[in-house]
Symmetry: C2
Subunit: 213 residues, 2 copies
């Protein structure tokens, strides 16, 4: 996982999503306020870690009271772009692409999916939750009409770099990359978020191998 | 993404996978040695970051020479458990599960997939790269015979916690979690690696929203 831009606080931002998930759970259970201590207990972080992460984005808590659950939840959603009316397209409706089209809670992230594209005639026309997969050949024209904020790249590894470069040429400025490939040169101004499954398994394998020693 | 155990160097370990990918590419192109400077250039890290990450695992480079590509590649594979003969099972062969069964390079990570399990009769019996999906009802018996090192959890969100707890009761000590749910209590001794797609998109959305401001 890698993101360009504000690298210093990248880990903090990732933890915000985790805090947000927990706050939503608490809200469901009718909990109105929470201390950094309790939040930390539930998530396996120290209270000071939580206070530090949150304080870099604003002043959310009250000394001796803690945080108001709903209001902190709303603030975190703001920070995580939920209210920024972001749009996305998905390119490559293979297994991973399909899994996202069928199941991923785009609403929860405040992202509106505008369309999905593939090159395979067997897949083109298939509908997932109201979105019919279109021919990738039509994508260029669509992009001249409207450039979405994010391209979700799920094409095969062999097509990854070429497709990414093409999308960037057509104005795409952020890519959610599922191709398990380095698609852009370092220091590219395009905002990139990699979901590198192999890196994730290798990290797990390191810990498992260490534990077996 | 979260792992228990050696939390301090978690980011370093994640970077090792990235270094490994680049080294493999270099090896393919016949490159025999590389400096931390060149490796850093290619990956967008400082040379000192790379030297620091590597030096926490051993003494791989030579002053004025740099690193031998093949030998560093082999060392990183060792650290990342490739030669530890790790085994895994996959539980839940829906879209994400299928995508992993069909495409994921388990060999590359040195992981041997022993079996796949699902509850859906329509999926049971389907074969993916030589692995036939078995009934999840048979899993308990399989686990009394042999406990794999890793369970890859791809069941629906609603079944996530229950299935994880069951697997842990049956001896599973490491979970690669694709359920987008917190499946274990904090401080659980089970080694956990989460692939939280929402956290990843929310992180990307944060950067995109910031860039749009």
């Amino acid at each position: 996982m890698r993101s360009k831009g504000f690298r210093a606080s990248d880990n903090s931002i990732r933890r915000l999503s985790k805090y947000l998930r927990e706050l939503k759970e608490m809200e469901k259970r009718g909990i109105e306020k929470v201390s950094s201590y309790v939040l930390g207990e539930r998530l396996g972080h120290t209270p000071s870690q939580i206070r530090q992460d949150l304080s870099s984005f604003g002043d959310f808590g009250y000394q001796g009271y803690g945080y108001n659950v709903s209001s902190l939840r709303r603030s975190l959603e703001d920070i995580l772009g939920k209210n920024s009316e972001l749009t996305a397209i998905l390119v490559g409706a293979g297994n991973i692409g399909k899994a996202l089209l069928e199941n991923f809670p785009f609403d929860e992230c405040g992202v509106r999916l505008l369309g999905a594209y593939d090159v395979d005639p067997a897949v083109i026309g298939t509908e997932f939750r109201g979105i019919a997969v279109q021919s990738q050949a039509d994508l260029d024209e669509e992009l001249t009409l409207k450039v979405p904020d994010i391209a979700i790249l799920c094409v095969p590894k062999t097509a990854a770099v070429e497709t990414a470069e093409h999308l960037v040429e057509r104005g795409i400025r952020a890519i959610w990359n599922y191709t398990n490939t380095e698609i852009l040169p370092p220091y590219s101004p395009v905002i990139l978020e990699n979901v590198h499954f192999t890196d994730s398994l290798q990290t797990l394998c390191h810990y498992v191998a260490e534990a077996k020693k």
